[in-house]
């Protein structure tokens, strides 16, 4: 694995080519089966009942009216729900969950929306109607913590999430130029379009559990459920063929899935639960609010002498979630003196979880806004300041980068954007009623790989079957897996069947961390090569199509072997030997390259905002970005990821805030209209360029992953552009109209 420049994919024909999604027609005709629309024979419907307080105890439940309603089969709660075991919650052992506390463990209420009961009925309408008739009395407790943003508590220091080099405090106090600023980001909702959903079915008299779940990790959920229900993993199957995206909140299992499977076991019938949107937003994950203080020290020429990044993020009362804001900071700029620290503060919310570019996107907002503040202080162009502190190797590890072209990203994007037309004067650029602001920021996301297995069958009917227990959450995994086997075998895409999202398949990775592509494709390639080797043995063996030939002498093209004289299709090779198929297994894992290089993707965003001071309206008019992500396996789907990240970044910058009532910690805006996300009309003109520098040191495909990086750096580019337009520095997200109006 040391040097993969001799990659089999150095000159690919299918890899890197525009390929329409192989699952596209299913999605476009309504045939793709997402969890919430699946059915099982004799299935019941569950509808959770959420707590209406955020802190206290459930004093009593009044179930009489609800139980008497038509179609109601049972109502589960803390007194009658089966006693289950908790998951060990280990990332290493693959049984991590989003919230360790089981549903209905006891009477304690830790957050608004926590499930206090699950109504199960014959129809959806009956379950919903009865859920609205469940009565509850509570004992309110004092001291609910509604938000980190309203609190001056110090929280708990997490040593493992901090880092240090040099003497940052001394370097800061002795610096010629200092920036010392504090930034706040509101809690956000993933608001993935498909709510969490579970369909649980016990088979073989309760010995075997089959679960359909909208999840980014079928294996993690299987393993966790095995621990919780005390089942052998082999007796549990988790299936997720189509996922209405996740953005991180479907990585690990939530309590609704345990409630659903528990109810199904008790009742001996399949149960389906689709979380109502409000419950998805209270108990289905959130990006925690953060407070970050950044201190930068520099000399008059703009060389950084100190970076100090102190962060605090929310966690819940029932779990410990760390949204490590400073994790990219040590690798960002060449600076000898640096420290990061991380604190967490328990609040009365459902447990936070990773949300697209977790931690880093928040940290990059603070760091890249602070860098803009430093540029203003120095009277220096922000691009120049960044180039001056360019990290030629990874300052965190001292290792060389596998492949870094951030300087090229900045220069190329600046040129396309027209950055040289920027008049740096505040409010100096106008168009009619609007003031134009130009801002920029850089972005990064780590490149990681996980172990993975895959299987490929070559079949006598001319088709190819490829299987891996990862998922396609909308990034296009189905398609790039098909491209990979098409590349290696020459079998046309139309004859390739890709199976993902089942624990009965070879173990595949989480669809998260932008790691699925770099993790999955090497294993798929290994399996394809293994299948080809098996078929060559058949072909050259006794009675084979190339009997007596040398396996090594057979070349592969267009789904056929050629020995220099004859071409025989895989199908005919199999038929000749009376075989239905051959099977290839493959596995792949990160290797020694991890000790030799540092792997990250990079990019630069340039943003034009337009601000109308008459009505205090800001809009993002234009985003020009250049990304250094290694090779894009399927350029349109990769670009789509970056563009989508940019749109989400506009939400983070200008709109998105989970609003918790400061009096009682209840979520105020738990719906899709009051929690504002970008719509069509908010989408700016977007111009994304992807540099094509395959990173063969990372894997033979040269791909680093692209799901998260587009989001990072957008919010600071917006806030920096707004500063340019208005002269007002916005350090808190989202930048609301109230913030724009304040102090005018």
């Amino acid at each position: 694995m040391n040097d993969m420049t001799q990659s089999a994919f150095a000159n690919p024909r299918v890899i890197g080519q525009r390929t329409p999604r192989v699952d596209g027609e299913y999605k476009l005709t309504g045939k793709a089966g997402y969890t919430g629309e699946l059915h099982a024979e004799n299935m019941l419907y569950g509808y959770p009942v959420p707590a209406t307080i955020a802190h206290g105890e459930l004093e009593s439940l009044d179930l009489d009216e609800a139980l008497a309603m038509p179609g109601v089969v049972e109502i589960f709660h803390h007194r009658n729900f089966p006693k289950l075991h908790r998951s060990p919650n280990s990332m290493g052992h693959g049984d991590q969950v989003s919230e360790v506390r089981l549903p209905f463990e006891d009477e304690r209420i830790y957050y608004h929306g926590q499930y206090i009961a699950l109504v199960v009925a014959e129809t959806f309408e009956q379950a919903r109607a009865a859920a609205y008739r469940v009565g509850a009395r509570y004992r309110h407790a004092e001291g609910a913590v509604p938000s980190l943003l309203d609190s001056d508590a110090e929280g708990t220091l997490i040593d493992s999430a901090g880092s240090s080099r040099g003497d940052p405090e001394s370097a800061f106090s002795g610096a010629e130029v200092q920036v010392d600023a504090t930034y706040h980001i509101a809690a956000e909702s993933h608001l993935q379009m498909e709510m969490h959903a579970t369909l649980a079915e016990w088979r073989e008299n309760g010995a075997r559990l089959v679960v359909h779940e909208s999840t980014q990790g079928v294996f993690y959920q299987r393993n966790a459920m095995a621990r919780i229900f005390d089942l052998a993993q082999e007796n549990l199957e988790v299936i997720s063929h189509y996922i209405g995206s996740g953005f991180g909140n479907k990585l690990f299992m939530w309590p609704h899935a345990v409630a659903t499977a528990g109810a199904a076991r008790e009742l001996g019938r399949p149960v389906k639960v689709v979380l109502p949107r409000q419950q998805d937003m209270t108990g289905g994950g959130n990006r925690p609010a953060s407070r970050q203080r950044i201190r930068l020290g520099a000399d008059r020429e703009g060389r950084l002498s100190s970076v100090i990044h102190d962060s605090m993020t929310e966690t819940s009362l029932v779990d410990q979630y760390i949204d490590a804001c400073g994790s990219a900071t040590p690798s960002f700029y060449a600076c000898d003196n640096l420290s990061t620290s991380q604190r967490i503060l328990p609040v009365n919310h459902g447990t936070p979880c990773p949300m697209r570019a977790p931690g880093e996107v928040s940290g990059i907002f603070a760091l890249e806004t602070a860098m803009d503040e430093l540029a203003v202080e120095l009277g220096m162009d922000p691009v120049e300041l960044r180039l001056k502190n360019y990290a030629e190797q990874d300052p965190a590890s001292g290792l060389p980068w596998s492949s870094k072209h951030l300087d090229e990203c900045m220069k190329r994007a600046a040129k396309r954007f027209g950055w040289d037309q920027r008049d740096p004067g505040i409010g100096a650029m106008r168009d009619g009623d609007e003031i134009i602001g130009y801002g920029m920021a850089t972005c990064t996301w780590f490149a990681g790989r996980q172990p993975c297995e895959a299987r490929v069958e070559l079949r006598a009917d001319g088709t190819l079957f490829v299987a891996c227990g990862t998922q396609d959450i909308g990034t296009g995994t189905y398609t790039i897996v098909a491209q990979t086997v098409a590349e290696l075998t020459g079998v046309p895409l139309a004859q390739i069947e890709v199976k993902l999202g089942e624990t009965s398949l070879p173990a595949g990775p989480l669809s998260g961390g932008s790691m699925a592509t770099a993790t999955t494709l090497p294993a798929v390639a290994a399996a394809a090569r293994d299948a080809l080797a098996a078929l060559k043995e058949v072909a050259t063996g006794s009675g084979g199509a190339f009997e007596g030939g040398e396996a090594d002498s057979l070349s592969v093209a267009d789904g056929a072997f050629n020995d220099g004289q004859r071409t025989v299709s895989f199908a005919d090779v199999l038929e000749t030997s009376r075989l239905a198929s051959v099977n290839g297994q493959g596995s792949a894992a990160p290797g020694d390259e991890q000790n030799q290089y540092s792997f990250r993707s990079f990019g630069a965003h340039f943003v034009e905002v337009r601000y109308d001071p008459g009505i205090s309206r800001v809009r993002v008019a234009r985003v020009v970005s250049t990304m250094d992500i290694g090779r894009a396996i399927n350029p349109p789907t990769a670009r789509n990821q970056v563009e989508g990240g940019i749109v989400m970044g506009i939400g983070m910058g200008l709109f998105e805030k989970l609003d918790y009532d400061p009096r009682d910690a209840r979520l105020v805006n738990g719906n899709v209209a009051d929690y504002i996300v970008p719509v069509h009309a908010d989408a700016p003109e977007i111009d994304v360029e992807m540099l094509d520098y395959p990173d063969f040191k990372f894997n033979e495909f040269g791909a680093r992953g692209v799901g998260e990086i587009g989001l990072t750096g957008i919010a600071p580019a917006i806030s920096n552009a707004l500063y340019h337009a208005t002269g007002k520095r916005h350090r808190d997200l989202p930048i609301t109209i109230e913030a724009l109006l304040a102090g005018q």
């Binding site: 329409p20 596209g24 109607a129 949107r277 349109p636 789509n640 719509v679």
Partner: protein, 184 residues
């Protein structure tokens, strides 16, 4: 105990008979009086193409055509559809051939996870048949803003709609009725 009492009239009442036309096929159903069209499609008829994203008329994922108009199926009781023509995403393609909007969504990669896609296409196909809506990008974006795509594929969706418009225009030039479903 829940905040909203909108569902207080629950299903003690007996089932109601609903006669309507779905994707060109006349049908008679027994539905609960409190059943909304979206749930009848998904749970009773097992037509899962119409998606539930909020159940509150806020996200657009459940958009269908009712007598040719794009509507949120989560905001209509099923019984309100008596005598009406309802078209879902399953009714867009004909004879195995994708509708122009479906074809352009495929070609422009106008989706990611695919969950909002049915609603986007139903709004898009209604928009393209609606002469009151301008042809320029800004008008299309405004008209489509009831359909949220959290994956943020807006740029490609806009491109797909404008590409599909060419097929609509070509159909109109040929003077044929085309395949403008829903208004049948």
């Amino acid at each position: 105990m829940m905040d909203d009492s909108a569902h207080s009239q629950h299903s003690r009442e007996s089932q109601q008979t609903l006669n309507f036309t779905l994707n060109g096929e006349a049908m008679t159903l027994e539905v609960a009086p409190n059943a909304v069209l979206l749930d009848v499609l998904r749970e009773q008829l097992h037509l899962g193409g119409t998606k539930k994203g909020c159940d509150h008329g806020q996200c657009g994922a459940c958009t269908v055509h009712v007598d040719g108009q794009a509507m949120n199926s989560c905001l209509r009781l099923a019984v309100m559809c008596e005598g009406q023509h309802v078209t879902t995403v399953e009714g867009l393609a004909h004879d195995g051939e994708l509708h122009p909007v479906q074809q352009s969504f495929l070609e422009c990669d106008a989706y990611q996870c695919g969950y909002c896609t049915s609603g986007q296409m139903m709004s898009a196909s209604a928009l393209l048949a609606d002469g009151r809506i301008g042809r320029d990008d800004a008008s299309v974006k405004e008209a489509m803003s009831g359909n949220i795509c959290r994956c943020g594929a807006y740029k490609n969706i806009l491109e797909a709609i404008q590409q599909a418009r060419l097929a609509y225009d070509a159909t109109a030039e040929r003077g044929t009725a085309g395949r403008q479903e829903g208004a049948a």
